[in-house]
Amino acid sequence: MKEVESRLKEEVKKILDEVAYVVGYQEGLTPLSARPLFIRNPKEVDRLVYNDFCAPNLANYVKKSDQKIGIDQKVGLIVKGCDCRSVVQLLQEGILKRENLILIGVPCRGMISFKKIEKLFDPLETYLAEVRDKKLKVHLAQGEESYHLEDVVFEKCLWCETREPLVVDIMIQGPLSLELEQKEKDFDIVELEQKEPAELFDFWTAQFEKCIRCYACRNACPLCYCQDNCLADTRQPHWLGQQTDALNNFMYHMIRAMHVVGRCTGCQECERVCPVDIPISKIFRKTSMITQQLFDYIPGMKVEDVPPLLTFKKDEKF
């Protein structure tokens, strides 16, 4: 991965003249996390990192806020396979313009989940970490520890179908797999669906009771681009109250669900950023499962696709 990182730095330097900025990763609070980096000059390239901890979906940082439709500003963006689907979806919806993007694809062999390792050790006390032999090896104060990668990477990485970005201008070649034991896509949802509606109701009530409506899920979602105009914030019409009880929180999450139907690419940023650990991506991934089942449509795969709820077939039957 070190090699990928150095080649990435070279490529970023090459395009700096063409773009307003490049969005990449820099080290987070610990070397075991990463956060976005906006690179405007060659000096800033030094801070760029790329490793197995680069979880954030950077597509979120070039959506409408930074690149308003009609304002032609070219931007460089580093994309992993899954993040690129968000880009494709935004291109499909006309929110991003292809000619305003330089997409640098990076290889991904599965990213390590901060939430998962947090449960195993204190990442802040970790001074060295590396991925070797299907294991995450960390040096802690009390000595070296190693963990099976299956236990520390994101679940979604265990069923990833798009490790290689679908649309790129520059591709940095590198390892695409660690040959970990794969899981059935969305198996967690299939499991949950075995429950009766009444049980599911209780399940979600418990989840929504936890929700503090911090809106982190909304803000992290690359497809939520309404910003200040979000239906959940408006008083006219008054879809929901400000109280953070299950009743109102349900409505908030339903607004999001109905707005990402047929669009959610399953990046699970919503769930990654949730401070109270609501398995919220299940809701949105479920909507994608439905649109795939009904309309044979998978979001974020082809720029020229039409989202399934913006079209119809006259003779279709369900």
């Binding site: 308003k68 309404c226 105009n229 239906l231 019409p237 913006l310």
Partner: protein
């Protein structure tokens, strides 16, 4: 906010099931309600006055009328509000008749429901906004679809009113089914003699553009501004050169099914449907022409001295802009093949009433001689069977076709005139003779012409030697009856053309389970449709006879003229609008709008947002659901209003 609630008794229609004073009492407790009362008939002038006075006396700024369906009287009460100085869109209705008093018998439950519906109205009206209609220019031209007698009448009347008319006819001549008839009841006028002059009137009228052998391809736009695409079907004959001399017809070797004569006799691949056709021009039926099928022949081309034949002819799309459309697409005779017991299609001497009409006609394939199709002999015993494809639930045709009883009596009379020593037996269920001079006509058939009416259904027809044995029951005598007939005539019902639903979809009008187009109101708006500017005439709306079709043709024309008398029309304000500051420019609204009513609009800083062209928008609301921020909404049915209604019901 000062809301007034008015509860209508509708005589006993509502008051019989709903405790109206209790509804009023409850309404007084609803938020912002400052006045509530009940009245026997709010739609009556005195009722409307009551509302108007109350608006002024109590300074009401919102009104809920709790009475019948808004489809019935919303306009009435809005007008009353306007007359009292209130914006008409600040009136809501609670439907406590059709959707409450008429469907419940439990007074307690009905009263509670009425109270809920009034509360719903109060909650909604409190979110209502003043709305103002916009105005748009009107194109004064009229399109008439279908050149049967109804369409002819509509075209002539509209032209007489000073409008340019485009008359589109899918066949090669106008005249429709009436042209197929020999005589008409109850006067026994010769059908062609009264129809042909009307057809010629159309042809010579300079205000009428006759497009025969054309079909409507697409209709876009809206009242006052329809954009119509019309397909000119290839005729393979240059009609500007063709004189209708029929030289080519005589020489054409391809003998084909004769649609005009309902399959009695044969016609040619190049032909004129009948001698009085308007326009009198021949067409080549490509599917049967030897040249098109086998690559050689071209006899017509050789004999045509006017060089009118053009084998390279192709379909063409032409466009017209019109302000109003009259649909007069008529009917098709019901296909009796479904009645296996009658043996139509199996026995040559079982024919339809329309075939019989052609047989009796002097210009028909038998030159007016009644002959058995099987052997050409003159029949002496003729059986007529009524209600074939009418009043028959088992065949999915519950309706009465209206004209067949009379047509059957007429045919019995004509039979006797043609063959004096013949006997006609007429099987019937009931004799429907409800028209001017109709009952007398049936009496004449029976008394002067000896028509033998047999009340009952025929159960079976089978061949016995040269004869057809008709087995049935005389339900008056309660006895089985058997008649050995030479010819059987099935009085087939009136069925909508098979492509009626397709046309309805192009025009955005409704049709019923049979395919008849649906009028706006069965009594009060019989020639209007739910699409403003589209009117109905003739049997495309319901089975009807010639006088009714003609009357409807005139009525539809009058409606069109009334509409087009204005230079500008009012556009309903119930359309979508965009709250620009909330638009995020995703243009999902544009993707789903069926009417291309969404325009992209550039703001000063280069940001693109949506804009609704309000005269193009029809207010369906598809955009509003697609819009993630709720920036686009349909006036009168906003999310706020609907959420308020839900709140009122689920409180």
């Amino acid at each position: 906010m000062r809301i007034g609630v008015f509860v209508c008794h509708c005589g006993s229609n509502i008051a019989g099931t709903v405790d109206c004073p209790r509804v009023v009492e409850a309404a007084r407790g609803f938020p912002h309600v400052v006045y509530a009362t009940d009245y026997t008939y709010l739609c009556a002038e005195s009722g409307q006055d009551l509302i108007k006075t109350a608006i002024q006396e109590y300074s009401l700024d919102r009104v809920v009328v709790s009475s019948c369906s808004p489809k019935m009287h919303e306009e009435t009460f809005r007008r009353a509000a306007r007359q009292a100085g209130l914006n008409p869109y600040l009136v809501e209705m609670a439907n406590i008749r059709e959707q409450c008093s008429w469907i419940h018998s439990d007074k307690e439950a009905a009263t509670r429901k009425a109270i809920d519906l009034v509360r719903k109205g109060v909650f909604k009206v409190s979110r209502d906004q003043e709305l103002f209609p916009s105005f748009f220019k009107v194109n004064k031209d009229v399109l008439v679809i279908g050149g049967g007698i109804a369409g002819i009448q509509a075209a002539l009347d509209a032209a007489q009113g000073g409008h340019r008319v485009t008359l589109v006819e899918k066949d090669q001549t106008i005249g429709g089914n009436m042209a197929r008839l020999d005589k008409t009841f109850p006067t026994l006028d010769c059908s062609s003699c009264i129809l042909t002059p009307r057809m010629v009137d159309v042809a010579v009228n300079e205000s009428i553009e006759l497009l025969a052998y054309h079909e409507v391809e697409e209709v876009k736009g809206y009242v006052g501004n329809f954009d119509v695409k019309i397909r000119r079907k290839a005729t393979y004959v240059d009609w500007s050169k063709c004189t209708g001399c029929e030289e080519c017809v005589g020489k054409c070797p391809a003998r084909i099914y004769d649609k005009f004569n309902q399959g009695l006799g044969r016609t040619k691949a190049i032909s004129l449907p009948f001698p009085q056709a308007v326009p009198k021009k021949v067409t080549i039926k490509k599917d049967f022409c030897h040249f098109f099928l086998k690559g050689k022949c071209r006899v017509c081309e050789k004999v045509c001295q006017f060089e009118a034949i053009n084998f390279d002819d192709q379909d063409q799309i032409i466009e017209r802009k019109v302000g109003a459309i009259v649909v007069a697409t008529g009917y098709e005779a019901f296909d009796p093949i479904a009645y296996l017991e009658y043996g139509f299609g199996k026995y040559k001497d079982v024919i339809t009433s329309l075939q019989y009409e052609r047989m009796v006609s002097a210009s028909g394939p038998t030159m007016g001689h009644i002959k058995r199709p099987s052997d050409g002999e003159e029949p002496k015993t003729i059986v007529f069977i009524s209600c074939v494809g009418s009043r028959d639930r088992a065949k999915g045709r519950s309706y009465c076709s209206v004209a067949c009883c009379m047509a059957m009596a007429k045919q019995a009379i004509l039979t006797k005139e043609h063959i004096p020593d013949s006997t006609s037996y007429l099987f019937y269920i009931d004799i429907r003779a409800g028209g001017k001079g109709y009952e007398e006509f049936v009496d004449r058939a029976r008394e002067e012409y000896g028509a033998q009416y047999v009340r009952g259904r025929v159960s079976k027809i089978y061949q016995k030697g040269k004869k057809l044995v008709v087995k049935g029951t005389d339900t008056l005598l309660g006895m089985p009856i058997e008649i050995e007939a030479d010819l059987v005539v099935l009085a087939v019902g009136i069925a909508p053309p098979q492509d009626a639903p397709e046309l309805a979809q192009k025009l955005n009008i409704s049709y019923d389970q049979y395919g008849f187009f649906v009028e706006s109101h069965p009594k009060l708006r019989p020639v209007e449709t739910n699409t403003t500017g589209v009117f109905l005439a003739g049997a495309c709306q319901a089975p009807m006879d010639i006088p009714a079709s003609v009357a409807q043709g005139s009525a539809a024309a009058a409606k069109a003229l009334g509409l087009l008398a204005k230079d500008e029309l009012e556009a309903s304000p119930i359309v979508a609008s965009v709250e620009i500051k909330r638009c995020v420019g995703c243009f999902k609204c544009e993707a789903v709008c069926p009417f291309s009513a969404i325009q992209r609009q550039e703001l000063r800083d280069g940001i693109m947002v949506s804009n609704v062209i309000s005269t193009v928008c029809k207010g369906c609301g598809l955009c509003g659901v697609a819009c993630p921020t709720g920036a686009i909404k349909v006036n009168g049915f906003t999310d706020e209003q609907i959420l308020a209604e839900m709140e009122a019901l689920l409180l």
